[in-house]
């Protein structure tokens, strides 16, 4: 019965979303327009995050490694 209660909970969440954004009051074609716009925006944001966040993280990691690596090399050369 966990699946059923999960489905009920998700349906209740969807109802809350409908009430808050007033799509409960819209006619079907308005709802279609509104959801299409929202889903398009959401997909674009997620895609942008997917493409750019991994590149940014790896660049940042490289930068910090280079910084600490340089420092390590400098200290080693002084000691030498």
């Amino acid at each position: 019965m966990d699946i059923k209660s999960m489905k009920n909970y998700l349906y209740w969440l969807y109802c809350q979303f409908e009430l808050i954004t007033c799509s409960y009051l819209m006619e079907p074609w308005e709802k279609l327009l509104f959801y299409t716009f929202n889903i398009t925006m959401l997909v674009m944001v997620l895609y942008t995050a997917y493409i750019f966040v991994s590149v940014h993280i790896s660049t940042a990691l490289q930068f910090f490694l280079h910084l600490f690596g340089n420092q390590h090399e400098n200290t080693v050369s002084v000691v030498k």
């Binding site: 109802c15 409908e18 009430l19 808050i20 007033c22 799509s23 409960y24 009051l25 819209m26 006619e27």
Partner: protein
């Protein structure tokens, strides 16, 4: 004589009123909802103008398109795009007496609330939480109905004249004597329509050169009467005595605006119970201020007569004050007496003046005889003069129902405005989609409620307003509460954080007001 100092000495019982603040998240989400609806409103208006969609609302004719536009202001935009979507919660046709249970005609709309058709089915026995039936006198059987039927067969239904010409029946004289006795004033006069009582009599009492101090949330009839009179109107914050005192001081010190002459009259307009907030006026303080600054008080007891006080005499009895302190006591027969019309009570000179100078007495038709008989019978029942204790039992039942209902709703976690003793219970909804959803869900569960939005309330503070009645039994209230609980969980309306915000004005001390107990 022992002076019991309790809340500064003016109040003989605790005054519990609270208006919980709107939670920030709820306010933001409400604005989001209104924003989305506004955008779609613009889209629909664009489509209507470019003939992509059929225009079903009122527009100007083709020849008048170059004139000053009639339907471009915000009210009309709101009407077309927001009100139409949830219009099925209002103007519902009922087809039985509006007692504790009511029958309603079912209607459906196939074009999203622009037109309605009746399916032919009648929804029976809907628990009525919306009618102003405080003492349960809206009945189709009983002593009131029999007396009214007898008078109808004796006098007929129409009066066909105004009070001053040929419409002054002996029934009206009897009614006025009874009303004066009920209120504890010298004399009273009854009019055919409650709204007209306010809007037609305030111009007879004040004119140019007078000052009217009216509460922020006064009813449209008081506002209309004040504007028609031509007097200067100043508004004080709702139930806020510091604001009222400041206005009174400024009025006395500075006088009329240009000439600095003293005002001819200062009239304070307040209501007994404010029907949108459920708050009760702070009458002891208002009377103390009125006596200190020598002004007049006009008290509109439309919702509080019959509903407050141990014997139902209204807000004056609720606070234990003297009715002679209020200069003009106005009320209506619509709410607690199950009839129609309004009255004004006061000193004999005042009422004799109004008999001659009131617009309503000169031009409006007087009360219809069966309606007068309904008022007389119900008033005698409340006073106990018909030999039974039915009236007293009803007043007590209403008080019990009020306390029980309010306590249970607060415990469930809803935000409820107003005073603990007022039978008008506003439950906050805030979001526009929830207004429509609440009305529809409650009707599905066989409970009829009244939901209110803009322009009767501020735009984010929309609410559902319950009016309790002595005719509601505890079982009906329990059923209603169970359904409200269910709908509250379904729509997530339980916003309250159980945090009682203390009343915003400072506590009164002895230096500000006169002591009235002596």
């Amino acid at each position: 004589i022992n002076h019991i100092v309790h809340n500064g000495g003016l109040y003989k019982r605790p005054f519990n009123e609270d208006f919980e603040e709107t939670p920030m998240l709820v306010a933001v989400l409400t604005y989001v909802g209104y924003g989305v609806l506004t955008l779609f409103g613009y889209l629909r208006d664009f489509m209507r103008q470019w003939k992509i969609e059929k225009c079903q609302n009122a527009t100007e004719r083709e020849e008048q398109k170059d004139f000053v536009p009639l339907y471009q202001d915000f009210e009309n935009f709101y009407n077309r795009n927001l009100y139409m979507r949830i219009r099925d919660s209002w103007n519902r046709p009922i087809c039985s007496v509006p007692g504790a249970k009511v029958d309603m005609m079912e209607r459906v709309s196939h074009d999203y609330n622009w037109t309605f058709t009746y399916t032919g089915r009648v929804i029976k026995d809907i628990i009525n939480m919306g009618s102003y039936n405080y003492l349960g006198f809206a009945q189709k059987a009983g002593t009131c109905q029999e007396a009214a039927a007898k008078v109808l067969s004796q006098y007929g239904a129409g009066v066909c004249s105004t009070r001053q010409e040929m419409g002054n029946l002996d029934k009206h004289e009897e009614l006025e004597k009874l009303v004066a006795r009920f209120l504890g004033v010298e004399s009273a006069m009854a009019y055919g329509m409650g709204f007209a009582t306010n809007s037609m009599n305030i111009p007879a009492l004040v004119g140019k050169g007078c000052l009217i101090l009216s509460d922020e949330l006064n009813h449209a009839s008081l506002v209309l009467g004040a504007r028609l009179s031509g007097a200067t109107i100043r508004i004080f914050k709702h139930n806020n005595m510091q604001s009222l005192e400041k206005l009174l001081k400024d009025a006395i010190v500075h006088g009329q605006p240009r000439t600095r002459r003293p005002w001819k009259k200062i009239l304070i307009l307040v209501e007994g119970i404010y029907s949108m907030e459920g708050s009760i006026v702070r009458l002891p303080e208002v009377i103390a201020l009125k006596k200190k600054y020598k002004s007049y008080l006009y008290l509109d007891e439309a919702h509080s007569i019959g509903a407050l006080g141990p014997t139902g005499r209204g807000v004056v009895e609720y606070f234990g004050l003297n009715p002679e302190d209020v200069d003009v006591m106005m009320g209506t027969f619509t709410k607690s007496f199950g009839a129609a019309g309004g009255y004004i009570g006061g000193k004999k000179e005042l009422i004799d003046y109004l008999r001659t100078y009131s617009h309503s007495a000169v031009y409006a038709t007087s009360l219809s005889p069966p309606v007068v008989e309904q008022i007389i019978t119900s008033m005698k029942c409340i006073m106990g003069e018909d030999g039974t204790t039915v009236g007293k039992a009803r007043v007590q039942q209403l008080a019990e129902n009020t306390r029980y209902f309010r306590r249970r709703l607060k415990e469930m976690g809803f935000i409820i405005y107003g005073n603990e003793d007022s039978p008008v219970v506003p439950l906050m909804l805030y979001m526009p989609a929830k207004i429509g959803a609440f009305g529809r869900e409650m009707l599905k569960r066989n409970i009829g409620v009244v939901v209110v939005g803009f322009p009767a309330t501020p735009i984010i503070e929309s609410r559902a307003r319950f009016c309790l009645s002595a005719a509601h039994t505890k079982e009906m209230l329990d059923t209603a509460l169970k359904e409200i609980n269910e709908v509250g969980d379904l729509l997530q309306l339980k916003y309250s954080r159980h945090r009682l915000v203390p009343l915003l004005d400072r506590p009164f001390d002895e230096t500000t007001y006169e002591e009235t107990e002596d």
